[in-house]
Symmetry: C2
Subunit: 341 residues, 2 copies
């Protein structure tokens, strides 16, 4: 069953292919009777345009991609994805969702594939392993970086972030104000700008009580952004001779791992351990503990990311690099104990 093409319509309506095209795109004037005949033939034969062919001709696929580590790990990215989709669908754009799994090769394969598929733009939460390649690619394909920066001079594109670093500072200061001194940090890989930024802010807060934080710091744990890593970190910290009284947990996935550790080991929050995390967890209002956490407006953030990539596409990538940062709201739950009392 062959699809009906513009040629079939032209034949049926007794006009040229060009005329049909003009009617379909109605961007050019065509006589009323011809237009009627064409529209009738379209209706009758159920014709619809082939956007692949149009894409080839017009050099635009009306497609953008989001490339992230794991679209299902938390509600955070689900919301951003939905929000981006909601923006771009206005212009009949559709969204490829691609998972890099934080793996060098997977990310690289996807970047190549997306380039080959001629996507009009890419929103990417970089793994950090292909930054040179991405910087180069950004000169050909409009790009928006999500949360993780690329500090290379030849990168061309926008950067959209939420100030989780600032939230880290605020949450850590709150731990300190509640009397905590032995505060563990469950960090992500420091070569990621997002993790490093939070690390720096934690360090800055700890400096206020004259604690020097470095990778030598007794209560420092560096691991990937996974639930397993959060679990393992807690295992290490809470079996120490002199365990920390509070934890700052950098990421929602590591926080989930930590909570699982606490619950399975009957460690009460906040009686036995306090914690805070600069990330929102899905359904945090219904968890058995209400964490102290920070939450950016993911809907607004995703919307902005979508708008930024669309801007950049519309002006053919000829635009200075922009940076946007959303300030998360810090929410205080009951996961921190005041140990002065």
């Amino acid at each position: 069953m062959k699809n009906v093409t513009i040629k079939d319509i032209a034949r049926e309506a007794g006009v040229s292919v060009a005329t049909v095209s003009r009617v379909v795109n109605n961007n050019d004037t065509v006589a009323l009777d011809l237009r009627q005949r064409v529209l009738h033939a379209i209706e009758k034969n159920g014709y619809y345009p082939n956007l692949v062919a149009r894409g080839l001709k017009k050099d635009s696929t009306q497609t953008i991609a989001i490339l992230i580590a794991d679209s299902s790990s938390s509600e955070y990215f689900s919301h951003i994805i939905k929000s981006i989709e909601n923006v771009i669908c206005m212009d009949n754009y559709t969204l490829f969702v691609c998972n890099s799994l934080n793996e060098k090769d997977t990310e690289l394969n996807y970047l190549n594939l997306l380039a080959e598929k001629q996507v009009d733009g890419i929103i990417v939460n970089v793994s950090g392993f292909n930054n040179e390649f991405i910087a180069k690619l950004s000169n050909n394909i409009p790009m928006v970086l999500l949360h993780r920066r690329i500090s290379l001079p030849n990168f061309k594109g926008d950067f959209i972030d939420a100030d989780f670093g600032g939230s880290c500072y605020e949450l850590t200061m709150n731990l300190i104000e509640n009397g905590h001194r032995k505060i563990g940090l469950i960090s992500g890989p420091l070569f990621l700008s997002s993790a490093y930024d939070r690390y720096v802010n934690f360090k800055r807060a700890m400096k206020s009580i004259d604690v020097e934080v470095s990778s030598e710091y007794k209560y420092f744990y560096e691991g990937p952004f996974t639930t397993e890593s959060g679990y393992a970190a807690c295992e290490r910290f809470l079996t120490m001779e002199d365990p920390p009284t509070a934890l700052l947990i950098m990421h929602c996935d590591t926080t989930i791992g930590a909570l699982r550790y606490f619950r399975s080991h009957q460690i009460r929050v906040p009686e036995d351990i306090s914690f805070a995390s600069p990330c929102n967890i899905s359904l945090s209002d219904l968890l058995y503990v209400q964490p102290n956490y920070a939450m950016p407006d993911t809907w607004a953030l995703g919307k902005r990311a979508g708008e930024m990539i669309m801007d950049r596409i519309k002006c053919n990538n000829e635009m200075i690099n922009r940076e946007v940062c959303y300030i998360p709201t810090v929410i205080y739950g009951n996961s921190v104990k005041n140990i002065h009392l």
Copy 2:
């Protein structure tokens, strides 16, 4: 900055365009020295194929789409999406994620757009409003229905489901065994096969204690699959003069709404109200209540959905309709009180 094309490579290597194509696809024999020259030119100029052009020629875009109500409402679909992506990316397929919002027009627009974009297949959780259109479309585009069936003779495609109906029966019987008689049903729209199926199973279970369930049933609530609807249902039930002692809540979103109602009104679970839901909620192990719920293997289900659509694509949609059903595991938490005690 024009992209380098197969022609540029041909000129550079001093061969014909056809030869370059043959090397790129290496599906045809070409002399070693020519191949070397071509490969060298490709390397030197950073050539990569234009998959839009290839798609036009080969009539295949290596793209499939998933069209669901809301990709961010629960972790359920996030996991399925990720799992599908994981399967199809093996063949260099990419996935469009599209949200119909359960709206007739939005769904219809997307279906048309996806057809125009020549996607190779569509996995769809239908809204129920465009079933005739979808059935017709299914004869041109390979389709897999997710959870919601289309009972039209001209539908062509597969159906993949999880037996939440069976779980409803089991969970309701459990409520009954725990002494409950006044059991409220928070239902979804009955014109959806998924909701209707659960309704029928609830009814069947209630029949065992001689309670007739119909839309006239005192403790019946029908509303959309949203948190707001779940909240409203609880409001209605729990302000009745003779409120139900237990609830069967059909959907994860309505369950979340219900939990929010309970918590904000200091209604204790299970002391004041018991409930069960044939759906898994994200992080249910970390909620303040452990619900009685059912959970299919979403990873396996998504994987199978991906495989089914790929099968269908590979055999050019010439295949009988298949039906697959996954049996959820029922998990008993502490959301049900035994009122015999």
